[in-house]
Each structure stands twice: as structure tokens, then as C-alpha cells.
Amino acid sequence: MVEDQGDIFKKSQEFLELVNQQKDFIQEVLKENEKLRQLLAQARSQSHDDGSLVREEIEVLRKRIESLEKEKREFELRQQQVEEENKDFAQRYIEIEEQNNNLANLYVASYQLHSTLDFQEVLNIVVEIVINLIGAEVFSLMLLDEKSNELVVLGHEGYESDFKFPNLRIGDGIIGDVAKTGEPYYINQAGKNYEVDFEHPIACIPLKIKENVIGVINIHRLLVQKDAFTAVDYELFSMLAGHAATAIFSSRLYSQSERKLTTIQSFLDLLTTSQSQG
């Protein structure tokens, strides 16, 4: 009986011990569970924080993309504007080049015309200008003979060797009319086979000093490579009308005064000689 009681006590002790062990285990499990719960709660909270950060970053990037796209559109617009400006500049450059060329032509023509006082040289320069700067193949320079009041050819280029140059009266035909009115005459679309005829020049430019016409330049044909008169030709015509006229007039006066001076000098020499002999 005592043995049974001792057995029972021992077993109850063992049972109690087991219960205690289980209690410890459960407490441990509960502690662990609490830890895990805390960790889970922490993890949840962290995950929530990370999500909002990503969302914020996405928002920033979206805004950046929008701003960059806006910038890109602005750049494209600016590029278009610059391209347009570039086209304008290119066009302006061509125009300035042309103007520069025209000014060079005008400068050279004017410079050459006033580079000499020799009458024949001035006539040659006028001829050179008409060939080289205007591109005329057949043309003549007529000056007004004040005694006969007729236009007489003093310089020419490109005519047949047996061509008979007429003297023209003021007011007669196109050339006479130009000499009378002082207004230039042009046919802009002159064909290559336009007849060389003093009744029908393709251009007639009056040489004027103020309102006085001292002569004309008649153009009958342009060089084969030149189709029509250009803008600079009209400026050259206008320049020739004034500068060639003054150059011709002054060189003619100079030649006349030179001749008169020689005559007077000879006369004075003769007087001096006869006085010294007498």
C-alpha cells in the first residue's frame, strides 16, 4: 500500500514536473509568438513605409519626365525657329553676296572711268565695261557732235567689218529719241538672233551730265551665255549714264585744252622768237 502510495506520489511528481515543463514550454512558445508578432508588426510597418517611398519616387520621376518632355517640346520648337532663322540667314547671305558683287562691279567701273584723262582711253574703258561687266557682244558708243547735232559712233564692238555706222539725228528713231528725252530704253527678253539694226537696239542708254545728253550706248546683242539683263545691269546702266558721261566730257575738254595750250605755246614761242630777232 505504501509502495502504491509512493508510486502514486512519484507519478504525480513526474506528472507535475511534466505539467511544469509543458507550462514552461507554452510560456516559451507564447514569448516566441509575441516576438514574432512584434517582428511581423515591425515588418508590416516597414513595408508600408517602403511602399509610400516608392510611390513618392515614382511621382518625382513622373514629374521629371513631364518637365523633360516639356523641355524637349520647347527645344524642338526652338530648333524649328533656329532652322527658319538659318534659312533666312542663308538667303540673306546670298543676297549680300550678290550686292557685294554688284558693288564691286560698280566700284571697279567707276574707278576705271575716272582713272585717266585720255579721251581714247576713256572710250576704251567704256567699251570694256560694256563687254566685261554687262556682257554685251555687239554694241556701239555714240557721241553727240555739237556742230552737226548728230550722234556719231566713236567706239564699237562685235559688228561685221563692213558694217556701215549711221549718223543719227536727235529725235530720230529709238536711239534719237533716247538722246532727246534722256530716258533709257530696254527690251528685256531679247533673243540671241536679234538683228543688229540701229533702228532696233535691245538697249539704249543715254550718257548724261545733269540733263544734257552727250551721247548714247546702243546694245544690239548680248553674249551667248547671257540670256537677259540682270538687276546689276540696270545699276551699271544708271552708273554709266552719269560717270561715263562725265569721264568722256572731262577727258574731251582736257584733250581740247591740251591742244589749245600747245597752240598758244607755239604762238608765244613764235612771238618771242620774232621779238628777239627784231
Binding site: N101, A104, Q112, E128
Partner: protein, 128 residues
């Protein structure tokens, strides 16, 4: 392209001045002028040039004869030649080019056109 030396062979002072005017767009360039072929050959004996620009119709010796003589001279034959003349017909153009000229420009000249041709020739001649 700088410090180039050009020889202009032209009997017309107006054209010589006009061509010089155009060539002055090349920085530091030196311009030598000759009034005909004979004068040009004399100048070529005394001076080295990078390019010859010549008219065809000239007294004493014309431009085509000058081209022939320059191209047959071993010392001068590599100098590029541009013919500038009133002759616009195709046969004249071909004759000049057959004799060895590098280009042909018809009068009345356009400064920009002349400069473009000169630049193209000199670019080609430049050692690579």
C-alpha cells in the same frame, strides 16, 4: 586657305581689277598681274603661284597658247588654270579644257561663282 598666290592674265585693266577684287576674299593672298601670255610667262619665271586665271583673247600671246606652254613645262604644269573669257560657246570651253585648263568661267563673272570654282580646285589640289 590662306596666303595664296594668284596670277591674273588679262589685257583689260577693268577685268584685272574686278578679278583682284574677288580674290581678295582669300585671306593674305598675293595677286600678280600680267597683260598677256608673254608677260605671264615672265612673271611665272620670277614668282611661284598657286593658280593662274587667264583670259583667252589677248594681244601678243593668247590664253590658249599660254595654257599649252604652261602645261608642257614640267616646273609649271601642276599649277591649276582657270580660263575667264567672253567666249561662251561649248567648243571654246572644250578647247580650253582639252589643253589642260582646270575650269572655265564665262564673263560677265559672278564673284561668288568664281570663288566657288577656285575653292573647289584648290581643295582638290590640296595634299591629303
Amino acid at each position: 586657305m590662306e596666303n595664296l598666290r594668284f596670277l591674273i592674265v588679262e589685257d583689260s585693266p577693268t577685268m584685272r581689277q574686278l578679278i583682284s577684287f574677288s580674290l581678295k576674299r582669300f585671306k593674305g593672298c598675293k595677286i600678280i598681274e600680267a597683260v598677256d601670255g608673254v608677260d605671264a610667262l615672265k612673271k611665272l619665271q620670277a614668282e611661284e603661284v598657286d593658280m593662274i586665271l587667264t583670259d583667252i583673247n589677248m594681244p601678243v600671246m593668247d590664253g590658249l597658247k599660254l595654257v599649252t606652254l604652261v602645261k608642257s613645262n614640267p616646273r609649271l604644269r601642276d599649277i591649276p588654270i582657270v580660263i575667264i573669257t567672253t567666249e561662251g560657246a561649248q567648243e571654246d570651253r572644250e578647247k580650253g579644257l582639252q589643253l589642260g585648263a582646270d575650269a572655265y568661267v564665262s564673263k560677265p563673272i559672278q564673284s561668288s561663282g568664281l570663288l566657288k570654282i577656285i575653292t573647289e580646285i584648290l581643295e582638290k589640289e590640296k595634299p591629303s
